[in-house]
């Protein structure tokens, strides 16, 4: 296989990491919603934690994107 083609495939494979981020964000928001439905008075207090969890989960997927960009542009 040519190096250029292998690079493209590798970068595409690295983007699979975003699937995990999608699952994580879904779990965070789903659980927040179900918790907020059960106890609406406590929901407002946990909103910063929700945002923190969202950002942390999204970042792990973006690490995969960084790997893809390193494969494409740095080598």
């Amino acid at each position: 296989m040519e190096l250029e083609a292998a690079k493209m495939i590798g970068a595409g494979l690295a983007a699979i990491a975003l699937a995990g981020a999608g699952v994580g964000i879904g779990i965070i928001f789903g659980n927040y919603l179900s918790g907020a439905m059960r106890n609406p008075s406590a929901a407002q207090k946990q909103f910063p934690n929700l945002l923190l969890g969202f950002a942390l989960a999204e970042a792990t997927g973006l690490f995969g994107l960084v790997i893809a960009l390193i494969i494409l542009f740095a080598f």
Partner: protein
């Protein structure tokens, strides 16, 4: 050239080339936007705190709002003992926020979409927090790497994992901000390219997507500045009182 979504991250020189001992320190568009965001923050607080009216004007309200927002965040995550570090965390938050927000303007440059900028911020936080920890607890700060209640057999493994996770803090802190900013702006450019290539008939769908994504990106720009500041608070809390 303009269709390349990576073109927006180019750094180019503004004005003459300045060399200091082989290092290129000339004025670039990145330094221009850093200065712009610093100037915006300074003028916001200059105009916001000039009159100190009881019924605040809009600018004063903005200044007070951001102050109480960060002050409350520090109180909740790190407690009263982190109060002396409020100016640093506030400056950090405002700088990252304004760099992100100025980057959302069309044809502008996002400073935080370059890993070297975010890595310098994160590395200085990491070094500073480590120094604070050692000053506060002496060699006892190393207890951070030895969690209590772990069986003796597992302890060597856990200590190695804790050390690696501690050392990867600056990397994860900087890559998080950089990757979010870069991915978001690249995505906006790619969708903008779809609008052009699909033309007047098919271009409306990606155009509406671009509008929605711009809204999302503004949210992310705020969120990432917030997360950067809150993680700094959490690291600082680890250094100020050893709990685990």
């Amino acid at each position: 050239m303009t269709t390349n979504p990576m073109h927006q991250f180019n750094i180019y020189r503004i004005g003459p080339e300045v060399n200091l001992g082989g290092i290129d320190i000339s004025f670039t568009n990145a330094s221009l936007f850093m200065m712009l965001s610093a100037l915006t923050i300074m003028s916001l607080f200059f105009w916001g705190t000039r009159k100190k009216a009881l019924v605040p004007t809009k600018i004063q309200l903005l200044a007070e709002l951001s102050y109480t927002f960060i002050s409350k965040m520090i109180n909740e995550t790190a407690g009263l003992k982190a109060k002396p570090y409020f100016p640093f965390i506030f400056t950090l938050f405002m700088f990252v926020l304004f760099c992100n927000m100025l980057g959302m303007l069309p044809y502008s440059f996002t400073v935080t979409s370059h890993i070297i900028v975010t890595f310098v911020l994160a590395a200085s936080i990491f070094i500073g927090v480590t120094i604070i920890g050692f000053l506060k607890h002496g060699m006892g700060y190393l207890k951070l790497f030895v969690p209590s209640g772990v069986p003796l057999v597992l302890l060597p493994l856990i200590v190695i994992i804790e050390i690696i996770s501690y050392l990867s803090r600056p990397v994860s802190l900087s890559v998080r901000l950089f990757a979010n900013m870069m991915a978001g702006h690249t995505m906006l450019k790619v969708f903008g390219g779809f609008v052009v290539s699909l033309g007047i008939i098919g271009g409306w769908l990606p155009l509406s997507f671009t509008v929605a994504l711009t809204g999302l990106e503004i949210l992310i720009a705020f969120l990432q500045a917030y997360v950067f500041a809150i993680l700094t608070c959490i690291y600082l809390n680890d250094a100020l009182d050893l709990r685990h």
